[in-house]
């Protein structure tokens, strides 16, 4: 994979993305880039399910929230170093996802989608009643947690760089999977699951694996993000609306491609930022997102990238 130019482009872009605000010491830029980076992580990992395997994980936010909780709990109550805590969050959540996945991935279409919403709701309910994790109030990070990273200011920069690293990892992982035998099998499942099975693709295993894989990086990102925020509570951690926005981003940019979710995340963030200033009611956000999703599904199901591919078929080769 490293013999092709594309992965190097990803690394180069990530370096720029990370270092420009760092060297200009631009905190505002960093904050908005951080949010975009988190969305790119959510969208590109979600894309593995939607765009490759063809399963819509409506409740994808559960990985982010649960990873956040595990990380903050380990840092706050057991003084674990951040990276280790986030890593364990990632591993634990993807292990859980593997377990759950083997069960709910037997369901097709809307049933799977609903099941994922249900999983998110169930986990949120359980966490809200779980005292060691602060119940409904959540976990407030003690300020000295930032001490090991050189104080709050430095910690914010460190988390930013780590999140950008995760973003790059997400894109590289999407690329690597896409060009692998595993990826081909997944895409075959997404095209026609029954035909794929007849061709020999081990569908139950592959689906569970990708569901689990799609949980890992978002869980780690959740750990880092909520560490930076200093607080995590159930409603924010398992927010279904964010989950849905991730889906819109994937569809907007072009599901099944590498750049699509990234493009979609950026565009949607821009749109949202604009709307927040223009319209005080946050609930029009949902209307806009819904209308956008509807338009995409009706008229441009391939999203932006799909549109470009249709107009200029040659781009299919290099613009993925």
């Amino acid at each position: 994979m490293w013999r092709r130019p594309f992965p190097w482009l990803i690394v180069g872009a990530a370096l720029l993305y990370a270092l420009v605000p760092y060297f200009t010491d631009d905190v505002q830029l960093r904050e908005s880039l951080l949010l975009a980076a988190v969305y790119i992580i959510l969208a590109s990992n979600l894309n593995l399910m939607i765009g490759y395997a063809g399963y819509v994980n409506f409740g994808n936010i559960v990985f982010f929230g649960l990873g956040g909780y595990i990380c903050l709990y380990l840092v706050n109550d057991f003084q674990w170093p951040l990276i280790l805590a986030a890593l364990l969050g990632g591993v634990a959540v993807s292990a859980l996802a593997l377990l759950f996945g083997l069960g709910i991935l037997r369901l097709r279409g809307a049933f799977f989608a609903l099941a994922t919403i249900g999983v998110n709701a169930a986990i949120q309910q359980i966490v809200t009643n779980f005292e060691p994790w602060g119940g409904a109030t959540g976990i407030y990070l003690a300020l000295d947690a930032y001490g090991s990273l050189g104080g709050p200011m430095q910690a914010l920069w460190t988390t930013y760089l780590l999140i950008v690293a995760l973003t790059a990892a997400s894109l590289l992982a999407s690329y690597a999977i896409r060009n692998s035998k595993f990826g081909l099998g997944l895409i075959a499942i997404g095209q026609n699951e029954d035909a794929a099975a007849v061709l020999g693709v081990p569908t139950p295993l592959y689906k569970a694996l990708i569901y689990s894989a799609s949980a890992f990086l978002p869980a780690m990102a959740g750990g880092l993000y909520f560490f930076k925020s200093g607080i995590i509570e159930p409603t924010g951690a398992f927010n279904l609306q964010t989950s849905i926005e991730a889906i819109v981003m994937v569809m907007l940019g072009g599901s099944g491609t590498i750049l699509g979710p990234t493009l979609g995340a950026f565009l949607y963030e821009e749109l949202r930022g604009y709307l927040l200033i223009a319209e005080p009611f946050s609930h029009f956000q949902l209307v806009i997102a819904g209308t956008l999703l509807l338009i995409i599904v009706l008229f441009a199901p391939g999203g932006l990238l799909g549109f470009v591919h249709r107009l200029w078929p040659r781009t299919r080769r290099w613009l993925e």
């Binding site: 692998s180 895409i187 095209q191 029954d194 035909a195 061709l199 020999g200 081990p202 099944g256």
Partner: protein
């Protein structure tokens, strides 16, 4: 003659309907076995039972000495049995080459991606799709899609191939071409079990024929034997093709 695929006492019930009952059949190496019968005789169900789409209620299926009864389709494919469907199921968003690569990757040989792609290219070319390798499967003609269905199944380099009405929807020239292709596949070492309604073709292609009616085996034998079997003719009463084949065997 080594038996490659054996079906013993196969039975399947759907609700109140006994779709298949007490079926025995054997496919030998290097053989083309034709499976014919009036509509609703249970032929497609037999295929579905063999390649694992449904588990049978009774009986066993043995492939190359291994009991594959009730195994899911992807395991059956891994054991070396491939299937080309009557209603083609191309992976529409993938190219012809990618479609075949899937077959080569996940079939009997379980090849890595690069090798699989080479095999896929070879097989696609041998079936006449060499000039369309990079075309999306969705933009193929019906005949092209039928060829893709076949190429994809062959890319797995199976030992046994199930062909489900590969000749339907083809014009006479295409039919001739496909008949030649099927013979070539058999000559290449793949045993074939085929369902077909075009009597002339299946009579000339098959080494042996099994006739199914209402889920049970009605007759078995060479094409000539079957065509002149009175029970078979009765079952097909009114089928001009079979009557013609009975009058002009071979």
């Amino acid at each position: 003659m080594t038996a490659l695929l054996s079906v013993i006492g196969l039975g399947k019930k759907f609700g109140g309907l006994q779709a298949v009952q007490g079926l025995d059949l054997t496919l030998n190496e290097g053989e083309i076995l034709g499976l014919i019968g009036p509509n609703g005789a249970g032929k497609s169900t037999v295929f579905n039972l063999i390649n694992g789409v449904f588990p049978p209620d009774a009986g066993r299926i043995v492939l190359e000495g291994k009991d594959i009864t009730g195994e899911p389709p992807y395991r059956v494919a891994r054991h070396g049995l491939a299937r080309a469907h009557q209603i083609v199921q191309p992976l529409l968003g993938l190219s012809v080459l990618d479609n075949c690569t899937v077959g080569a990757c996940f079939g009997r040989e379980n090849l890595p991606l690069h090798r699989a792609r080479d095999v896929a290219r070879e097989v696609a070319e041998s079936v006449g799709l060499g000039d369309r390798l990079d075309m999306l499967a969705s933009s193929l003609t019906t005949a092209g899609k039928k060829r893709l269905e076949l190429a994809r199944a062959l890319s797995a380099r199976p030992r046994v191939l199930l062909l489900d009405e590969v000749l339907s929807g083809l014009n006479p020239t295409e039919t001739e071409g496909m008949i030649r292709t099927v013979r070539r596949i058999r000559d290449g070492g793949v045993a074939i079990l085929m369902i077909e309604h075009i009597m002339r073709a299946i009579m000339s292609l098959s080494d042996r024929i099994v006739v199914l009616n209402l889920g049970r085996k009605l007759a078995e034998g060479t094409p000539q034997e079957v065509a002149s079997n009175p029970a078979v003719i009765t079952a097909y009463l009114g089928e001009p093709q079979l009557m013609a084949a009975a009058e002009n065997p071979g």
